[in-house]
Assembly symmetry: C2
Amino acid sequence: MTTNMESIFLENEHKAALEPEKYATPELVQLACRNGYKGSTTGFAPGFVQANIISVPKEYTKDVLLFAQRNPKPCPLIELIEDGNVSGKYFKGDIRTDLPGYRIYKNGEVVEDYVDDVTPYWNGELSTFLFGCSFSFESYLMKVGIKMHHIDAGKNVPMYRTNIECEPTEKLKGHMVVSLRAMPSGQIALASDVTSHFVRTHGSPIHVSNPAEIGITDINKVDFGDAPIIPEGEIPVFWACGVTPQIAILESKVPFAISHYPGMMALLDMKDEDLMNW
Amino acid sequence: MTTNMESIFLENEHKAALEPEKYATPELVQLACRNGYKGSTTGFAPGFVQANIISVPKEYTKDVLLFAQRNPKPCPLIELIEDGNVSGKYFKGDIRTDLPGYRIYKNGEVVEDYVDDVTPYWNGELSTFLFGCSFSFESYLMKVGIKMHHIDAGKNVPMYRTNIECEPTEKLKGHMVVSLRAMPSGQIALASDVTSHFVRTHGSPIHVSNPAEIGITDINKVDFGDAPIIPEGEIPVFWACGVTPQIAILESKVPFAISHYPGMMALLDMKDEDLMNW
């Protein structure tokens, strides 16, 4: 994250807590973003689904659909919005302006780390994919008594690029990204049970304990998010992460793509519990 | 089913039981089909996944992918084989000859009720979709003590076209087809638990009891398969069924399509338990 973005985050981090009525529904969050809000969406519109987004040229539509089908844990597809349309069945705002921030990719590189409005980049041929996000299951893990240490500390979840190769398509390949939550060993089966029912937000864990086996050599060195908080005696548990499609965009050198800025998600007109109606 | 097909079924029905060594693996079943076997695949290559197939012109590929994503319970996609290829990662035989039988569809009608070789219809532009089938979870239901009355009676599972509309795509729409299994009320939660983990073979039930609510006015009048066996006091439980894509092909008047003949499935190089590794 750039220093500039850090200050934007710091400035906005606690807006939802300070002004809950302003961020209580997807529509209000979208309106706030359109009017200049530039921070994380963590804790906004509680109970509503937050989604990862990727917009790609239409010649990539079939490959992203197939990549999602072949890799449902990291890429749990909730909605596809086609032909440059800016809203859909579950995302009812304007996808170009109603997220706090975006990233722009060209030929396998991030060419704009942060923009707050992608209207200048938009065209009628983009396909926008909305993927489920672990925000939706974290509240359920907390309800059954499992502590989310990063939430308690006001931090972003730690994320790592693994050595697990996603099942590729003709045009897309990439390594899986995972998010980490640590817990006492006695809670691992419960966490697995609960999240197994959220198949549209990454499902049950990909890996438990021993980070080296999935290519994580130093657990304290994250690739995305904040450093992990692992209390003495607790075990790291890894879930597939919605940053994976962004890595696939980069590794596959897709000529053009837009994603949300990490932590600045799309708010959907769908409740977390709707994701359990598989 | 035509009288001709009935006699073919009768002639072949018990081949697997009589000659188990001939039908023990996917490869042996495929070979038998290539050499003229024309019956049901029920009970063949026990433990291996059997799949529904649909081949469509490539301009329908994206719509079928999206239809599957939007309707995962009736259309649990296991594999897509593109560009007229005849084998894939999980189906290793020749998709044109290695099923016992096929159906041909044109413009919303079945134009050939049964053919045993689709090579004359094949071209380099077909996309073939392999969808999971309830055969894979039935053995697990039996392992936990739930009787499959149709299997005990040597019959096909009863299937019904419902009034539930699938979520459409631009080019595809259709009503959901369900399969019925009756059981004592005390086993319904267990059956739901077990099948909830088979998300690639229809998952948990779509409906329990009261068939009228999903548009089934006469439970004894099936649309596909055999008449139901419902012992006194047992409750009908309905699962989404892999015949649904065939109904979508018909209702959407797709210009050309090939499916397997009902009950004559594709044998995959994948074990039933692999389907639980979501």
